[in-house]
Amino acid sequence: MISGTSSWLPATSVSASGKRIQREMVELNNDPPPHCSAGPKGDNLYHWIATIIGTPGTPYQGGIFFLDIIFPTDYPFNPPQVVFKTRIYHCNVEPDGHVSMGILKDGWSPALTITKVLLAVRSLLTNPDPYNAVVPGIAHLYLGDRAKHDDIAAEWTVRFAK
């Protein structure tokens, strides 16, 4: 598969970031997180595509959400960029799909992996953070009228994510 630990001379030379991304890919394939998947989009190791399946019991239930993950060249020392490609009604997701999350900004740590990022995104869908929202309208609705918020979110899920 990918140059593992056992082969001491990989076929191609890769940078440290590439090596780390390759390892993450291997680990993700060996032990995929629940209801998530991820992998390189094409030949480019630094551009991944991921899917998250909406958690049952949330308005996103049943939806399949596609995300783009773009790794910086100095990954893992800088966070990857995570962008929803599927439209989603969520106070922490910008209209263009950029996910606003602490661990993808200042809270990033090189010890975090894509697996952990995907799990974090998934838990963000379950528990939105209206106090650090990027779409204030949705956050207001979430705090003021939760039922209506959930209805709209479920409707968006049916419209865009199925």
Binding site: T5, W8, L9, S13, V14, N78, W108, S109, P110, A111
Partner: protein, 378 residues
């Protein structure tokens, strides 16, 4: 049965025993024990004698007999005296058990070795008994190696920690990874975000590093070798300087594109052979310095190795030697790999290279044989 044993002892010893023990006989054997012995049909004197023979004669004809005597008395181990007697032969019993514990260690080592050094190493002349023993242990050695790998890998590069450095909060990373994390992401632990005190975090956790080197010699050697093969001059040095792994991976792509001249390759092979030869020589002499045989020419290494093996040596020396050998092997493998990329070589030079290579391989095999046999002895 014990009586017949006793008759084999010289009468002088018997007399001495009687003398020395008649005074403290009362203290030696408790009344309870005496009654128990009487019930078993032993008379006191015979009992005492049997006891003392075992205790006072550490060197007996054979372990077998000793244990036989021991067994015959084993029902009466109530008295303290008896217990003392029983404790004495215990080293013998332990001897049998102790073979189990080193065997496990050996199994571990052997497994590593099997992984690292490719072919030809394991065909050592030895009896089948040991061979089967070895096979059984290799199969069961370290079932938790995957867990260990996970546990000992760096959270930043996701590989086995290379020169691990431990933060004040107790998390370990490759030294280089931790340094760049501190540079680029602030001075906090990547795992728990605790503050890392300035600069202190760049010391290598030696215990952890040694453990990793012992557990994953292959990976570590691979990294080290990669650094050496890049640094061409380093091939002539025995102690390889630590170099950045990442710079090496970057440089590696250059190597096939600008291969050094063939002439150079051959020279390096020869140099390598010389180094290896020197190492083998020094090690063998170091190993057998206790013995007084003459160290003659290096050409009959095999004989020297075979006749003088089994002398106990420093474990560290062994480990260092093995590491060096492995390194050379990898170097060698890499060389043959890269040289095969060159379309054609002058026939004369290629024969020289292959000759050197064959020599090297033979030497490595011999050295590993030596090590193998020594391991087995211990």
């Amino acid at each position: 049965m014990v009586e017949s044993e006793e008759q084999k002892r010289s009468p002088i010893i018997q007399k001495k025993l009687m003398e020395s023990n008649s005074q403290n006989m009362a203290t030696l054997i408790s009344p309870r024990f005496k009654s128990a012995a009487a019930m078993a049909g032993w008379d006191e004197e015979a009992l005492l004698l049997a006891t003392l023979i075992v205790e006072d004669t550490p060197v007996r004809d054979s372990k077998h007999k000793k244990r036989f005597v021991l067994n015959s008395k084993s029902p009466h181990n109530n008295s303290s005296r008896k217990r003392r007697v029983l404790r004495n032969p215990r080293p013998i019993v332990l001897d049998l058990d102790e073979e189990e514990t080193p065997k496990k260690d050996n199994g571990k080592k052997k497994k590593e070795k099997k992984n690292c050094v490719s072919e030809g190493i394991n065909k050592v002349e030895e009896n089948e008994n040991k061979l089967t023993e070895k096979n059984s242990t290799t199969a069961s050695a370290l079932p938790c190696i995957d867990k260990l790998r996970e546990e000992l890998s760096c959270a930043i590069c996701l590989e086995i920690c290379f020169e691990p450095s431990t933060t004040p909060c107790g998390h370990s990373f490759c030294r280089k990874c931790l340094r760049s994390a501190a540079d680029k992401c602030g001075k906090k632990c990547p795992k728990c975000r605790q503050l890392i005190s300035n600069g202190r975090s760049c010391t290598v956790n030696t215990v952890l590093w040694n453990t990793i080197q012992l557990l994953f010699p292959q990976e570590i050697e691979a990294r080290k070798v990669m650094s050496t093969t890049n640094n061409r001059q380093a091939a002539s040095q025995i102690v390889i300087p630590e170099t950045t792994f990442y710079t090496n991976t970057r440089n590696r792509s250059i190597q096939p594109i600008y291969p050094s001249s063939r002439r150079n390759d051959i020279d390096e092979d020869a140099a390598l052979a010389r180094i290896l030869q020197r190492q083998i020589d020094t090690t063998t002499t170091r190993v057998h310095r206790n013995q007084t045989s003459s160290s003659s020419s290096s050409s009959n290494n095999v004989g020297r190795v075979r006749t003088r093996r089994g002398v106990s040596t420093n474990q560290d020396e062994d480990a260092a030697f093995a590491l060096r050998l492995q390194r050379e092997e990898f170097l060698q493998a890499f060389k043959s790999n890269s040289s095969s990329n060159h379309e054609e070589q002058p026939s004369s030079s290629s024969s020289t290279t292959s000759l050197g290579r064959a020599n090297l391989r033979a030497m490595a095999t011999r050295a590993m044989n030596l090590r193998n046999s020594r391991n087995r002895r211990m």
